[in-house]
């Protein structure tokens, strides 16, 4: 695979730490066998997008199989200081931000393919000093061809999103990767630059079909005094990898990463996080949670790098797993590279089962076993679901988690 600069870039190997738990060969062969769908003629309607991704009140950019769909998108009347659209529009700011994509370099063969073969790139730009109150929603829908001439091969897309948040600005972003039933391969990249003293609230929700393959890479660049909170929800996919790379370039930046994977059937969910403290007085938290049932397998690798010469670093990481069946598996792996002295760093991991005493207590009050389990699973991931700042998204995610896990649907607003 060639990178943008023409150099050849290989797919990673499972010998590399960050790819240890990912079945790379299987993904590469699925990628090779997948076909690109034509840009027209999908059956995705507004109702389908609303059902799969929800409507959370702000501007919405919708892509189907990697191709922008103007009919499904709403971003004509966006607040002043916000621009969203496609990288290939002849808009000055968008063009500037393709230049910004210089920070969005490919670091492996998957990203190189994303950059080389992607059809449309979503761009969100916030001018300096602007506070946007409504969330910007970028939706990627995979719509595999289950009956047509391409029914034999999975549908591939290479969604790419570039987000540039100016100094002192504030914005909430929602990214949804969802899909219709059937086989799809989504090879996604997202780059977010958080300018000086800017604030970003980012929710990434992946609810593709259970036959889908998902390779996701999110790169976050934070400048001085910036704050980023990311809530990541991984539910869909047969094999799904969710990589998050945070680079803290400027001092006094803060990062809070919160995530959950809900893994069942024969799903494999792989979460790989790196937080690179390259500046002083930055604080980062990684709080990831897995709920793994049936023959599912969930893994978490969390890396903390603290660069030499930095001071007063605060870096925390935790990974908690709830394993619901004897065949389910949770792997967890902290990976610390602390190259400075003045560091406060904690990490911890747990793998546990549902609390039998709590289950009996609930059942003794008449609550049926499946509902009691749902309550306890809901309680286990409450830390993550409660962190979602948009009530409509919170409800949407809770419903999908319930459905995916064969749980009784409960409205999180009622559960508190």
């Amino acid at each position: 695979m060639k990178a943008a600069d023409g150099s050849v870039m290989d797919y990673p190997s499972t010998k590399e730490e960050a790819w240890r738990y990912t079945p790379v060969d299987e993904i590469v062969s699925r990628l090779a066998a997948a076909a690109t769908m034509p840009a027209t003629g999908t059956s995705v309607s507004r109702q389908v997008v609303d059902a799969l991704a929800g409507d959370h009140g702000g501007p919405r950019l919708v892509f189907v199989n990697g191709v922008y769909d103007a009919d499904l998108s709403d971003h004509d009347n966006v607040p002043a200081g916000l621009w969203c659209g496609l990288a290939d529009l002849s808009h000055g700011r968008a063009a500037a931000n393709v230049a910004l994509a210089g920070i969005d370099w490919a670091v492996d063969g998957f990203l190189a393919r994303n950059h080389a073969d992607g059809h449309d790139s979503a761009v969100v730009v916030v001018d300096p000093g602007v506070r946007i109150d409504v969330p910007v929603h970028v939706v990627h829908v995979s719509a595999p061809d289950n009956t047509g001439e391409r029914a034999d091969s999975a549908t591939i897309s290479h969604p790419r999103t570039i987000i540039d948040v100016g100094s002192g600005s504030r914005i909430a972003l929602i990214q949804t990767y969802c899909g219709l039933d059937g086989r799809a391969v989504t090879n996604a990249s997202t780059t977010i630059r958080v300018g000086r003293h800017a604030e970003v609230d980012h929710c990434r929700v992946q609810t593709e079909s259970t036959a889908a393959t998902h390779i996701g890479h999110t790169r976050i660049e934070q400048e001085e005094g910036s704050r980023l909170r990311m809530i990541s929800v991984t539910i869909g996919g047969d094999i799904a990898r969710n990589a998050i790379d945070v680079h803290l370039h400027g001092p006094d930046a803060q990062t809070e990463l919160v995530g959950v994977n809900v893994t069942t059937g024969r799903q494999r969910h792989d979460t790989v996080v790196t937080v690179d403290h390259a500046a002083s007085r930055c604080a980062s938290t990684q709080r990831f949670t897995g709920v793994i049932d049936d023959h599912g397998r969930g893994s978490f690798s969390g890396e903390i790098i603290v660069r030499p010469g930095t001071v007063a670093t605060d870096a925390h990481q935790s990974n908690r797993n709830l394993v619901l069946s004897p065949n389910a598996e949770a792997d967890t792996r902290p990976w610390l590279q602390i190259l400075a002295d003045d560091v406060r760093c904690t990490h911890g991991a747990t793998v546990g089962r549902l609390d039998d005493d709590a289950l009996f207590y609930l059942r003794s009050r008449g609550i049926p076993l499946d509902e009691a389990r749902t309550m306890l699973i809901g309680a286990f991931i409450r830390d993550v679901t409660d962190a979602i700042p948009h009530p409509s998204l919170r409800t949407h995610v809770a419903a999908i988690i319930a459905a995916s896990n064969g749980m009784v649907a409960t409205d999180p607003e009622r559960m508190r």
Partner: protein
């Protein structure tokens, strides 16, 4: 109403209940006393349907074989256990939990669901009588509650679920005098001709407020002596060992 015959239970290869017989008629209040480790909580757990015990013998409630039912189905026929050690469940709201439980049990009894507002009103009335701050409804189930608060929360659940057979496992333990009075009044209020109660306690004090029809002594996995409330006073005065020794085998 409750009929227990030759009930045996063991756990981890250890026999704890060893041929226990007990009958409780409708409206009766029975107290069970007995030394630590006698098997009182085991009896309560086995009646409520906790897993992990190997159980044989008979336990029926109004002719229904309790031992064949899942815990939630026992609750539906009216069995309620106030836990000796109520479980903390962080992340599950007390109000949500209580309303779910009330509505599930109501549905099984053919009663309509109670809406959130009506429920809140009823819950607050019960809480006022138990001198509980309504703020407890918005907290997680028992999480961070003091010992006494947990016990009051058990009585609150019992009051709202209106069981037919209430089993109270040391609900009075660890309560101060005021809390004991409130809890005793809560129990006494629930006394009714169609509700039976089994009160496990170490303290005759509770039995002054909730006077039992019968007092039993559980020891070695079976009931070794029964009497009226005077037996509680006798146990208090003489202790288990000499009280039981005074009885011919």
């Amino acid at each position: 109403m409750l009929h227990i015959a030759n009930l045996r239970a063991s756990i981890a290869g250890k026999t704890i209940l060893n041929g226990l017989d007990l009958d409780i008629a409708a409206g009766e209040v029975h107290a069970i006393m007995g030394p630590n480790g006698a098997g009182k909580s085991t009896l309560a757990n086995v009646l409520a349907g906790r897993d992990g015990y190997v159980v044989s013998g008979e336990a029926t409630f109004e002719g229904v074989d309790l031992l064949a039912l899942a815990p939630e189905d026992r609750a539906a026929v009216g069995v309620f256990l106030a836990f000796q050690h109520p479980v903390e469940i962080p992340g599950v709201g007390n109000m949500y939990f209580l309303r779910s439980a009330v509505n599930v049990v109501r549905a099984k009894r053919g009663l309509p669901e109670i809406g959130a507002m009506d429920f809140l009103g009823v819950a607050k009335e019960h809480m006022a009588r138990l001198e509980m701050d309504p703020a407890f409804l918005s907290r997680s189930v028992n999480a961070g509650f003091s010992g006494g608060e947990k016990k009051r929360n058990e009585i609150l659940q019992m009051s709202m679920l209106e069981p037919r057979l209430a089993i109270l496992d040391e609900t009075d333990s660890g309560l101060d005098i005021d809390a004991l009075r409130i809890v005793a009044q809560g129990i006494e209020r629930l006394r009714s001709p169609d509700r039976s109660m089994l009160i496990i306690t170490h303290h005759p004090r509770l039995l002054d407020d909730v006077r039992p029809d019968y007092v039993h002594v559980l020891s070695g996995g079976r009931i070794v002596r029964s009497g009226d409330h005077h037996l509680a006073a006798e146990l208090e005065a003489n202790g288990y060992t000499s009280t039981l020794a005074a009885v011919p085998a």
